[in-house]
């Protein structure tokens, strides 16, 4: 067992495995995905200070002032975390709520009133098999995850809701996190060639839509080719691929 004191206080990133202790200590500590504040003080020599342990394998990163810590790695199975945008498909309708498959271990529930402008009388009518872009509002280890398609404060949709048409690409979790990064090259590059719509879920699903079938297929193939889990092509490789696709 590695204790916190064994890990040298290095500023460059290090690699952690699930169960490893992370030397994250700050007055205003913010933990990102893959890190857990453990109340279990068995391993800690100091009984008052709770320890932070990693729950995923990956590279450990922290912000410059050591207040924010997170783990970056690649995996294929999604573990829901609050406030993350996800794409799910409706699998069942139970009374006032929908059961939505978001690719996690459990199906999430989405209340039919959790949409913009939804009232008791006027609710969206989703069919089984419809796609929704939603935000995880509750992710607890002992409960099924819950979704919402609006901001609870402003009651505005902010882009969430049912997705019509288009196609869903399944990619690795690293790829969809990269796509959300405004500095990532892929979506601007594709957008420069033809108009497109995209919704990126953090559960490894990306919804894309373009006017022509050929263009949508080009987007699908580019995302799959750029995925570090698949081809892992760079800007140059993607440009070469796009030239062969005749779009």
């Amino acid at each position: 067992m590695i204790s916190a004191s064994d890990i040298p206080n290095q500023t460059i990133m290090s690699f952690v495995f699930p169960g490893d202790h992370v030397p994250a200590q700050h007055v205003n500590l913010k933990l990102g995905p893959g890190l857990l504040l453990s109340q279990d003080t068995n391993y800690s020599s100091n009984r008052d200070v709770p320890t932070v342990i990693a729950t995923r394998a990956g590279e450990l990163h922290h912000s410059a002032n050591c207040s924010k810590w997170w783990i970056e790695g690649n995996s294929r199975r999604y573990v829901p975390a609050p406030q993350e945008p996800v794409i799910g498909s409706v699998v069942q309708r139970i009374g006032e709520a929908y059961r939505v498959d978001i690719g996690g271990a459990h199906v999430a529930s989405l209340d039919s009133l959790a949409f913009e402008g939804a009232t008791k009388r006027n609710k969206p009518n989703l069919k089984v098999g419809s796609l929704v872009y939603a935000r995880v509002s509750l992710a607890h280890k002992d409960m099924d995850p819950e979704l919402e398609c609006f901001d609870a404060q402003t009651r505005k949709s902010e882009g969430f809701g049912e997705l019509k048409g288009g196609f869903v690409v399944r990619c690795s979790l690293k790829m969809c996190r990269d796509l959300l990064d405004p500095k990532h090259f892929l979506l601007p590059l594709l957008g420069g060639r033809f108009p497109l719509e995209a919704a990126v879920g953090l559960n490894g699903r990306v919804w894309v839509s373009a006017k022509e079938t050929k263009q949508t297929i080009a987007i699908i193939r580019c995302i799959e080719a750029a995925d570090p889990d698949g081809g892992g092509l760079s800007v140059k490789g993607i440009k070469a691929l796009l030239d062969t696709l005749d779009v």
Binding site: D101, G129, G165, G166, F167, I217, I220, E224, G230
Partner: protein, 282 residues
């Protein structure tokens, strides 16, 4: 839990794209993914990859007492189990319908097609025969596991070499590979399996080597197992799509061409591997 069926937008997109003869991975309707064969350190250890679908085949040979009703024949057993490692759609323990289909097809293509000469596995009539055990590990499922598994199994049988044995009277001597060069199994012919998917709309052309999504959205599958000599071993049709005789003949013609290509590829890869392999004989 059954895997959720593809969502409505995905289904509609695949159908419209196929109507325009476009496939999501950029292939032509009757184009298959080129199989990539990787050989391991041991003889009879083959990994076959078709796109992201990957199957690992492994062969072990063991000396056993033959069955009393067939004293001159060795045996081949195929062990295949699809674990959740391949895809989260599969559950451990309970065999899904797809798994049952794959297991039965593998049995038909590899064992009952008489690809392997069982009598050549006899060492001492009624007392000692070789028992060949083929284990298939399904590593990843991205559609068309069956074709990939058949190819992996068949190549593994061709790649494997059993230790040489010498029989003097009643005494059996097994020579280790360092003493005498191991001998390949006697293979009558090499059948390959090709799967076509049909879609509910009759005007859509059938596709060869369906991806996982295409397989799930298909209305019917036709699997043809045949060798490069145009001998059909197994013809299987699943799902209730009506097909005319000329449709089937067209599929068979495509399969014949693909079988010839695959045969050449397999032979070339096996030759390449054998030349690069050092089997010491003192």
């Amino acid at each position: 839990m059954r895997p959720p069926s593809p969502s409505i937008p995905e289904k509609e997109f695949v159908y419209t794209a196929l109507k325009e003869s476009l496939r999501l991975d950029g292939r032509l309707p009757l184009e298959m993914r080129t199989p990539v064969l990787t050989f391991g350190p041991d003889l009879g250890w083959v990994e076959c990859a078709m796109g992201k679908t990957r199957v690992l085949a492994q062969i072990e040979a063991k000396m056993v007492k033959p069955q009393p009703e067939r004293p001159f024949e060795g045996s081949l057993t195929i062990h295949s189990e699809i674990s959740p490692m391949a895809s989260s759609d599969y559950e451990p323990g309970r065999a899904s319908d797809e798994e049952v289909t794959i297991t039965r097809m593998l049995d038909k293509v590899l064992r009952r097609s008489d690809a392997l000469d069982k009598e050549s596995l006899c060492i001492l009539a009624g007392q000692r025969v070789w028992h060949i055990r083929l284990t298939l590990h399904f590593l990843a499922d991205a559609g068309n596991l069956l074709d990939c598994a058949c190819l992996a199994g068949m190549v593994a049988l061709k790649h494997f070499r059993r230790p040489d044995v010498e029989v003097i009277g009643e005494e059996v001597t097994v020579h280790s590979p360092s003493e005498r060069a191991p001998v390949p199994l006697a293979i009558h012919h090499t059948p390959f399996c090709f799967t076509f998917a049909f879609f509910p709309d009759a005007t859509t052309t059938p596709v060869l080597d369906p991806s996982q999504l295409e397989q799930r959205l298909s209305a019917g599958l036709v699997s043809i197992a045949l060798n490069a000599q145009k001998e059909i071993c197994v013809f299987q049709k699943l799902g209730g799509v009506p097909l005319g005789a000329d449709d089937i003949l067209r599929l068979v013609e495509v399969a014949v061409a693909r079988a010839k290509e695959t045969h050449e590829l397999v032979e070339a890869r096996l030759r390449e591997d054998w030349l690069g392999r050092k089997v010491e004989v003192r």
